[in-house]
Point group: C2
């Protein structure tokens, strides 16, 4: 059966079909305040073309203040497909991925990126649908001093860039975790965060490989701002987002791997809602393309066995605390999204809306404590 080719993006359809006035109205309602495009040098554009990377750059400004200077930071999100076949030998895959990483980080540095983030489990196929332990578990590395961390430490130092590297982690006692490593701009390993919420949904029953993280909700204080990582499925959990806010995050990254049939209508909603509710920037990153495996597998949906589980639809974007967002990268191509944000916007929006002041945390702390008890009696009103 021939597959219908994936379309590039909703944004492109709207841009092509609407007149300028209508486009403006639609964008104001759907996307909030405009996010002006950033100038990109021809050197950077040429490099992006050479690597076949879609390159987009926007800015999200804040108001001027009297007592604080603007705190402008450039965030780079990279979405990509596998550079070679999914079942290629691990060493070949890792080599191809490292080459790609070097190229894209060099490109990002030409656009002044300060904080760079890859997609979830970026250097490997998202093979957890197969339920095969061999060879996929071999992709797991040490967070602290695996090959991937070492490579990125060098690049972070070279380009004065904070790098977030979501990996498959193997710890010292051979437990696997889905982990994001944070490397600071001097190339030092700063810390890690392990995915808090693990899906058991169709092809995404990742609990075959790793369990719920035990690292809490760390916020990493870098020279470019306070950042945190909410890995993939954690975006469906408002409490997970809330917790990073409680710890003071200004930017929360959501490195993901998700396919259309499952989640695409949710994609534009969840990270953006989190930005609004918690007064920080959110960065949603998804991988791209279809990954085909040698051995067939079933998906618990009554359909015949098959060798791929759908199209990763990219569409990475940045959302701001005031509800505005950038257009998305394409649904189909490798892409680098650069967004210059002024972190001062976080506090400005908190002061404006007052969600933090009005949230009555004590009431909910008590309610959640009660609700975790098996004998919790819900507050139900019915006819006597």
């Amino acid at each position: 059966m021939a597959k219908i080719p994936e379309f590039e993006s909703v944004d492109l359809i709207l841009q092509n079909a609407l007149n300028e006035d209508d486009y403006k109205k639609v964008c104001q309602v759907l996307y909030g305040n405009p996010t002006p495009q950033l100038e990109i040098s021809s050197t950077a554009k040429d490099l992006a073309n050479q690597y076949n990377i879609e390159l987009k750059a926007y800015s999200i400004p804040a108001q001027e203040e009297q007592t604080r200077k603007p705190r402008k930071v450039r965030i780079g999100l990279y979405q990509h497909e596998l550079p070679i076949l999914a079942c290629s030998p691990i060493s070949e895959m890792k080599d191809a991925m490292q080459k790609m990483a070097k190229n894209v980080i060099a490109l990002a540095s030409k656009i002044g990126v300060n904080i760079f983030c890859f997609q979830e489990a970026w250097y490997m196929p998202f093979a957890f649908c197969t339920r095969e332990k061999i060879p996929w578990c071999e992709y797991a590395e040490s967070a602290e001093n695996g090959h991937t961390t070492q490579l990125l430490q060098n690049l972070a130092k070279e380009y004065n860039m904070v790098i977030i590297s979501p990996i498959l982690e193997r710890d010292g006692v051979d437990t696997l975790w889905n982990t994001a490593v944070v490397i600071d701009n001097s190339g030092d390993y700063l810390g890690k965060h392990r995915k808090n919420h693990i899906p058991r949904v169709g092809d995404f029953n990742e609990s075959t490989y790793y369990f719920e993280g035990n690292t809490g909700h760390p916020v990493f204080e870098t020279v470019y701002g306070k950042i945190a990582i909410n890995i993939c499925y954690g975006r469906h959990h408002p409490l997970n987002w809330l917790a990073f806010g409680l710890n003071g995050a200004e930017i929360v990254f959501n490195p993901s791997a998700t396919v259309g049939a499952l989640s695409e209508p949710l994609w534009g909603i969840e990270a953006r809602n989190a930005a609004i509710a918690n007064g920080y920037f959110t960065c949603a990153i998804n991988r791209v393309g279809t990954e085909v495996f040698d051995n067939e597998f079933t998906s618990g949906d009554g359909k015949p066995a098959h060798r791929d589980f759908g199209h990763f639809y990219g569409s990475s974007y940045v959302a701001a605390p005031n509800g505005s967002r950038t257009p998305g990268l394409s649904r189909t191509r490798n892409g680098l999204l650069v967004t210059e944000v002024d972190l001062n916007l976080c506090r400005q929006v908190k002061d404006h809306w007052g969600f933090q002041m009005t949230r009555r945390l004590d009431m909910y702390a008590e309610l959640l404590s009660q609700a975790t008890s098996p004998s919790y009696s819900p507050q139900i009103i019915k006819k006597k």
Copy 2:
């Protein structure tokens, strides 16, 4: 200065500008699974025309199950502007509102509506921007046996309809509350819920009139399903939505009053995110039009004193736990949105996605308890 006329809706722009294929793609990403239109009788259509009410009807289906029958319920959301000038005498305003209510509930009954909900403080101007106590406090009524409750009890009984009536409440000791009254389908007063989160935002500093509600997060068990009400500004608070879910809500209504400049880009995000995160239907209702007051007031934004605070942009819609949503009502007209939902979808989506199972409530109960302490030490990782 002549004002630019308000445009009708994003949906209409997209429908007119896009070809069928593109429209389908855009809707799938922006709105999720299609929500087929319901047949409406010509009697109902004629009546809607007579009353100058936009009438839209959709269905949100669920899969068939083996052990449960479909649980189809028709929800009616009504958005409206003031029928007469904002500063008309209170008795004239209430008469005009009661007449309007009788008409629209009769109309709703012709389309088989089971649960009907008005917008926030529906029978009065949203006059809280004025900070005048006189005459606006006179609009307040008893939740249990005020005139409005009595009228709606009769209508609820006549049409076998559950009615949610968001009012300005005056209790027995002259404290005011922003309250939603629930009347069951036999015309009995079932209970009330007081708005949990009160804004202090620009013209919406409602704490001049009433304070945070003390009724918790009640879920009302009716013959048409378990329902709850998250009033207006509470939609910005993920914990408020979560609490109604913890108490078993299947439909949560969000009667609101909000203007464009403040919140329109957030409107399509928040109630829909709540539906996804909590596995219930959400119903977002906003009022329509511009309300002009006799006395000028300022808005704390440095602009000159004025007599209206903007256009209520309507755009009421229903969102489903699977992330799909209906188109919105217009931004400009009185409208009745009828949505037939199969409540079985709630449990189906919970089983599919597993957000409830994977949410680690105990971890967050502990975190929230800690975070409410003034001595809370956030989890921050920085360079040693």
